[in-house]
Symmetry: C2
Subunit: 671 residues, 2 copies
């Protein structure tokens, strides 16, 4: 068995470094013989090497694949989206093509330009004047990627939803005072396309003349505005102390922790990605990622029907990731990883600390007590969390990959932030959402995520996706006289496509390696998926909502592996008209049984908004898991040291336990 050859070099799936982004930018500029300002750069990210070459390199002593960059850009003055693949080893532009019918993702430069164009446009200002806002009002706008409602639209459009803030505080709620204006701008020309107004009543009707703003108090979350006195006083500090440091080791982006090893990848589009994941030296997954997420809103009134963000394809969980710092998102001992993006003029810009990694204690991992003698073994459930926070305008997604000592891998999403708000006439209600504050409507919506799992169980590229179902034995009285028996039926998936969960049958999808049989159970080595059962997209097959992202229509997708097929709805989702991802890949007539296969899981939530979600929403948490099934010959966490008070140093609560509270000191119940 050859030793892995990347040890003293970057892993081939490491994200691009600052120098590599700089080099890609230079190579393209010199190739195009462009003046310094001739190219408008949008994205430079790693173009991942072919899987076959990478596996040859990692496991079979092949040579290191070339490092390559994928660049999205425009030539200044042109609206055509251009793509280049740059070979950083040969300094050559290896591939160059245009995508004139597609829109690239949003970049910060254009976001700022549209924002400014809207705020400064005289027509917009004239409308705002009619609102007769108080003198301290700051007018804000959030340019939104323009959801598709016209197959022929080719302009690059943003709809600017507008709000006011009445405080100069840096955390004044930007979404508590929506105003009924939503101008549309062309991001290439920065021209006002339409000064759209918003309905504030039950139907599409808008005020002929913009009416003066109906004053209302914003709902704030800023500690500065709320003031010290508004906070609960009885929360005592809780600290995580790791006196011997963390249990992980990092070697560049390579991490080793509790028999796991993996590379912390990162892209502007996806945020953190796990590559080349091994447990106890056994390869499990070539790549684990959040592939896409879309948010369609359920309000049919113009222009709300257009609200459908693809927050990975349109914006990017990497590009919108927060720079984290100690004490914010994690307790204990924290490692951070940086990202890099390119500026519009081709310079690399470090995005510091966009991924954090730390250990947590998740309670009991396993326990057994011998009831005959009360002797007990407890293993705690130590986990490693690799996490980012993406702030996509109003909303936050906290994406985490969580590994544990029982060889499980969990993908956890926490949805938080501020719900998207629209103005509503005070006292009214509409069927499309909930009034979460006076004058503020939070429209009901869905969030549908799609995780992508690229397995290489035991290092083999030939895997099978199968599902087990549990069926009762029926009408076999000789076999089952009391009717208690049930069987597990296994169905291997042979063709690509979308598949449904079926909880009534305990349908369980799993990845198996048919070539490796567990010596104890006689079953093939496998990993099973614990899904997040979710309502799928409600919008029908004719809608743009559906056609732009068919991953939203089924919980499970199976495709044959091809390089570059990473993103569920295709490469370019912004103003897309048709899905160019799973819609094509899951529709190919090819065998996927015992092949290089990819498993996709779509899940999410239908969010019926509540006042409790405002001003900032308490997390909704979704966790999907991949767990070994016949992959190991015993509990893989049987070797974890037992829980021990000498190390845990828990403390005992004794005060007050045996007295009663003196009369009259408890709050009177409010009924």
């Amino acid at each position: 068995m050859p030793a892995r050859s990347f040890k003293s070099a970057p892993h081939p799936l490491d994200p691009l470094t600052v120098d590599e982004v700089q080099a890609a930018s230079h190579i393209l500029q010199s190739h195009l013989r462009c003046a310094d300002n001739g190219i408008k750069f949008k994205v430079i990210d790693l173009a991942e090497p072919p899987k076959a070459l990478t596996l040859q390199y990692l496991y079979h002593n092949g040579s290191a694949p070339n490092r390559k960059a994928r660049v999205y850009y425009h030539l200044k003055g042109s609206q055509t989206l251009l793509i280049a693949i740059i070979n950083l080893n040969t300094s050559e532009v290896e591939k160059k093509y245009d995508a004139p019918a597609s829109q690239g993702p949003v970049d910060w430069d254009e976001f700022e330009l549209v924002n400014k164009a809207c705020n400064e446009h005289p027509d917009v200002k004239a409308e705002i004047a009619k609102l007769k806002l108080p003198p301290n009002a700051r007018v804000l706008n959030d340019p939104w990627a323009f959801g598709t409602d016209d197959a022929n639209e080719r302009r690059r459009l943003f709809q600017c939803y507008m709000y006011i803030a009445l405080s100069e505080d840096g955390e004044a709620n930007h979404y508590s005072l929506p105003i009924p204006l939503a101008p549309i701008f062309d991001a290439h020309t920065l021209e006002l396309v339409e000064l759209q107004k918003l309905p504030m009543g039950t139907d599409n009707e808008i005020d002929e003349e913009t009416q003066p703003w109906d004053p209302v108090k914003p709902v704030e979350y800023s500690a500065g505005i709320l003031g010290e006195d508004s906070f609960r006083k009885d929360l005592k500090p809780l600290q995580v102390i790791q006196p011997q440091g963390p249990s992980f080791k990092t070697f560049g982006r390579r991490v080793e922790w509790q028999k796991w090893s993996f590379t912390v990848g990162w892209t502007l589009r996806e945020g953190p990605v796990l590559h080349d994941v091994l447990y106890d030296g056994r390869p499990l997954f070539y790549r684990v990622s959040m592939s896409e997420m879309t948010v369609p809103y359920g309000d049919p009134r113009t222009p709300y029907h257009r609200k459908q963000a693809f927050d990975l394809g349109d914006s990017g969980f990497g590009l919108t990731s927060n720079s984290l710092s100690l004490g914010c998102d994690c307790l204990g001992h924290i490692a951070y990883f940086n990202g890099v993006r390119v500026t519009g003029d081709g310079k690399p810009m470090v995005m510091p600390n966009v991924v954090c990694m730390h250990e947590i204690d998740d309670g009991i991992g396993w326990k057994h007590t011998n009831f005959r003698n009360q002797k007990s073994s407890v293993v705690r459930n130590r986990q490693l969390v690799i996490q980012c926070t993406a702030t996509v305008a109003n909303y936050e997604y906290i994406l985490a990959f969580v590994l544990d000592q029982a060889a499980n891998i969990h993908i956890e999403v926490r949805a938080t932030g501020i719900v998207s708000t629209m103005p509503i006439r005070q006292g009214l209600q509409v069927p499309w959402g909930t009034v979460v504050a006076p004058g503020v409507l939070a429209v009901n919506h869905q969030h549908i995520f799609c995780a992508r799992i690229d397995p290489i169980l035991d290092g083999d590229s030939k895997n099978t996706i199968a599902y087990d179902e549990c069926h009762p034995v029926v009408d076999e009285p000789d076999l089952d006289p009391y009717g208690c028996a049930f069987r597990v039926n296994t169905t291997p998936i042979e063709t690509p496509g979308g598949y449904e969960l079926d909880i009534t049958k305990n349908r369980t999808f799993k990845i198996i390696n048919e070539a490796r049989i567990n010596t104890v159970s006689g079953q093939p080595h496998g990993y099973k998926l614990h899904p997040v059962p979710s309502q799928m997209l409600m919008m029908g097959p004719k809608t743009f909502n559906f056609r732009r992202g068919i991953f939203t229509s089924k919980a499970i997708w199976v495709t044959k592996y091809n390089d570059d097929e990473l993103w569920a709805s295709g490469e370019f989702t912004n103003q897309s008209r048709e899905d160019t991802g799973l819609a094509l890949w899951a529709n190919r007539n090819e065998n996927v049984k015992n092949e290089d296969v990819v498993l996709w899981h779509s899940f999410g939530v239908t969010h019926i908004t509540r006042p409790e979600d405002f001003p900032v929403m308490p997390i909704e948490k979704f966790v999907m898991s991949l767990k070994p099934a016949n992959f190991f010959e015993e509990n893989p966490s049987n070797d974890v040291p037992r829980s021990d008070q000498n190390l845990n140093k828990s403390t005992l609560h004794t005060a007050e336990t045996h007295c009663h509270r003196p009369r009259g000191t408890e709050d009177t119940p409010k009924i």
Copy 2:
């Protein structure tokens, strides 16, 4: 508003004290004029006062209801189960009746007697001799409650599944070496009823003559047997430090934490129970409990068809609770609560530390970053965990009630321990389970739990259970030209019964108080259920499995409140033939809309066993939640102090981050 009057006295729903158990025992003994050893006590637990009286006392200045005890007992020499309700205030036996057709739950005394009878019976010993066990073999047996297969059976039966252990170690795996004997004993007479043998092949066939044991190595979890060298070495300690102590206060069994207040009840049957739960002084729930749990096994071979434990009704999560100690089940600052049980001869026995309570940090509670200036507010998700571990012979259930600062309450179950094992001929497989070690079959089974939620939203006993569904708008092109709209339809439940989840419609059950309307949203105050979507019982309506616990057939149950209707399958489940709980209560023809109503949620798992579940199974975790929906006018955790490094004291990982591991020091991948 009168102040709550229990402040300087026990809460009426506090569990019985040692003195009260003693008093109940004395009162019954003197009432029956029994000699000291004339009564065989099984259970003494609180007989809860009527809800109406309790609410009068708590909220309307009524007088304290009398303290009462429920006693299960036998007169020595009689097989008839007797029940007495003892009034501890008047020292009277208030009610006394028999239940000759029912079996009471298992008690430790009889468990030990049956265990001993089996181990010492000459016929059993003669069979064991035929196994020709090695001289160091210890023979063990686990008397199992006898699942029903005969409607006419009236004896109190135990089936003793037998195992051997080859080590004297106190934690030698008692379930790794099953032997093919399962004698049936009568617990009243201690007579051997049948020396049943176990099939080791694919059908019911058993060896005519018990064959010599086929030696095999046990799979161990004992640290003593495994030895120091077998443990992973790189797990560093992680400690939770609370330098200012915990955020909770306890007053006897009354707890106050982060606006919550509640009483930690406890029963032998249910383990911990939350009573009289308020948030910010507003009543939410009168009682929150795990009501029942059943485990039917899917193997039709005799006698496995009988394996169906009701681990609350037959044994009791309280009776089987572990006595906890610092450093085992929790980190940080821990409060413990005791339980009390009665011995067979009527003496109270303290069960120390059967419930633990502590705070945990569950990561981010909410977060928002103003992307314009990067200013960020993070609130951590501090939770309060009230937890017990029930060891029901081989298996462990960790039941926790988890409260958080966003006014959510979660009921979490972790299933762990050792799967129930049966012998199988080495090299064989059967369709009913997985071979988890040589000669060891772990039969596939279901665990179906039923949680019981008794709401009093805002202190009103008149609540309604309703469900929301999300339905797309279809064929209304004028209203919804782009097909994106969906509506939320609400259906109040008017009649008791069982109801199904429907994820395809996002069907969401909620408790609402129709009399209280949220001033912001215009919707009734409510709490919604986030269920655990699960396969329901596979065994059909004619089976004993089904008929003994119909809660297993639907995810949601709604009943009208009646005192003493606490246990989903009825009061006596041991060898029960018919469900006397929800089967009756959910079948009454009565209104439940805007009434005193109870919500029940059935959930669980179909466990297809894996070698990874042996010797001790890594936890499977199930979490159901109750979350406010239009109960508050904004995020109830908006007032939680923001996350702050000055208090969190996280530390930074810097070592190695920017170097690569030296060549040759990484493990060679195993492929």
